[in-house]
Subunit: 327 residues, 2 copies
């Protein structure tokens, strides 16, 4: 199997985290995507033992190399176009999230996907984080009964970000970019989809980051009636002990489970206990490739990829308009 990679603006590092687990896959070629500097991508490839061809034009690369899989991590506002082009060529897609910055672009991707008979997943790598992965499995196994209420938190350090973060057109917004992880946990933990959302956000005090929202809150009701919220901020102080403060708290009819600081806390009929998670039996990228190679189904389906993207964009619309959005 042949892999191509386009761009390195986001989390294409996921490829190199587990590509060694899928020796049947070789990195044939890379393209910086839209004039970006290719050196970071080439350095990562070399470190992983690959000497890929370098193509300035990503379309030419896809046509000449004819890969089985493409990793898309170019400019955020070009994800959708790149996904569409790959799907039309029947190339499996591993794309930075969100895969589209507008609902129209998402529709274009879904249309291109419809008859492609290939797979598409976005980089929801935090679903594979040990504590979140194990906690979700516990919820699916009934550890807290029926889920009633779930909250997810993403809190990041802002630092100083490249200019493309400062414009809505090139960034997409904090709810899709940072919030997508929180929203993905909610969808994954509950195995449900949303019925409605209201959301609020603020760009004030963003330290010169233009359109970038420094904080947002989203409030969802799922189709089965679960209450859910996502808290998203760039307010984590620079001196905090880690870049991100990722959390989930799910309360059900039989217990409460929480993930924070890499640990799981479960309270059920047997009282409260702290659980140190095991290493997961999957990693984001190799999980996807192993399915393509005929192995077990990956954790993330095409439908979940689309649903997450749609959920993020509708939550952003709720925040932009101040109106409740029905799904």
């Amino acid at each position: 199997m042949k892999l191509c990679m386009i761009g390195s603006r986001g989390h294409c590092g996921y490829v190199f985290e587990s590509i060694a687990d899928v020796p049947e896959l070789s990195l044939a070629a890379v393209s910086p995507g839209c004039g970006d500097d290719p050196s970071r991508l080439l350095a990562m490839a070399e470190k992983a033992g690959f000497r890929p061809e370098l193509h300035q034009d990503w379309r030419t690369m896809l046509d000449k190399v004819k890969p089985d899989v493409v990793c898309i991590d170019g400019p955020f506002d070009r994800h959708a176009e790149m996904c569409v082009e790959a799907l039309r060529r029947k190339i499996h897609v591993f794309c930075e999230k969100p895969i589209a910055l507008t609902l129209e672009d998402l529709d274009r991707i879904m249309e291109a996907h419809k008859n492609s008979s290939v797979r598409i997943v976005s980089m929801v790598g935090l679903r594979y984080d040990p504590a979140f992965y194990q906690a979700a499995n516990m919820v699916h196994a009934g550890a807290i009964g029926k889920v009633k209420l779930i909250r997810a938190q993403k809190s990041y350090k802002l630092g100083s970000r490249p200019d493309f973060y400062k414009k809505r057109e090139t960034y997409g917004g904090t709810i899709p970019w940072v919030g997508s992880h929180a929203i993905d946990w909610i969808l994954h933990f509950t195995r449900d989809t949303f019925r409605s959302v209201t959301a609020i956000q603020t760009v004030e005090d963003n330290h010169g980051h233009g359109d970038l929202e420094v904080a947002a809150l989203c409030q969802f009701v799922t189709r089965s009636g679960i209450l859910a919220s996502a808290s998203i901020d760039y307010l984590r102080p620079a001196a905090a002990p880690s870049h991100g403060d990722d959390r989930v708290r799910a309360a059900g009819t039989e217990g409460v489970i929480e993930v924070a600081n890499g640990k799981i806390v479960l309270i059920d009929a047997n009282g409260e206990r702290v659980i140190t998670p095991d290493a997961p039996d999957r990693k984001l990228f190799s999980d996807f490739i192993l399915e393509l190679a005929g192995g077990r189904p990956a954790l993330v389906s095409d439908e979940e990829t689309f649903e997450l993207t749609r959920s993020c964009l509708l939550a952003r619309e709720a925040a932009d308009t101040g109106k409740q959005i029905l799904f």
Copy 2:
């Protein structure tokens, strides 16, 4: 100064927690309020060293004893009526929260208060809890800069509750009853008031508790633009190590502060540290009485008492109607 007490359905225990700190106050008389059993109230009084008169009729008690202060803790749906009657008699009011179950009743109280020249506060005792009290003081002193995002959590064990919890008319709803604490922390920490609210709630899986909502989420924007949310549930398992799991997380331009498990965690330019709170220099009831006796202003003003009640009732209305409510 003379105190009367009406009823003991809620947290009138706050009186006895600190009445010894105000020796100028004597408990002159009690009334069970509306036919309730007076024995709990009498036992608490006796334990505190008082032998109050017992009046079946609370109005007669107010007229005959002419107290300076009355503690109102009768049926939830009678708080407003009792407040109005006390205010009309120019008696200071220490009332279980929420002081009214409808906006109309709140208006009646505010009208009666207008020319009364007496004080009214509700039992927002958790504002005086050591960790919350100290954390709020730290926020007021600038520990996290300008507050941008604040979340508060109340999670309780449901257990088996008296019948009056099972009807909206006599209970008032979970957002006003349990959520009032979370909403009060938000108002107190931010020293702000609300501009808008959306809210969601659910009565499903409430173990035969009728109208009682087992979970709710409220999302507020304050007048200055702070994003706020309150998470409220009765989903804490019976085997959990404590009755309630109370929390606040406030993120500002200069830091993040959290209260949970009775501790404060602060992250600022100096990194992260855990702070064990000191004993507060105030207690809810004596703080109020000491102000009446000419001492320093109590922590809670009449206006805050009204604003909290209104905020709870409008959040409930948002949840009941599924609409955003503007304040």
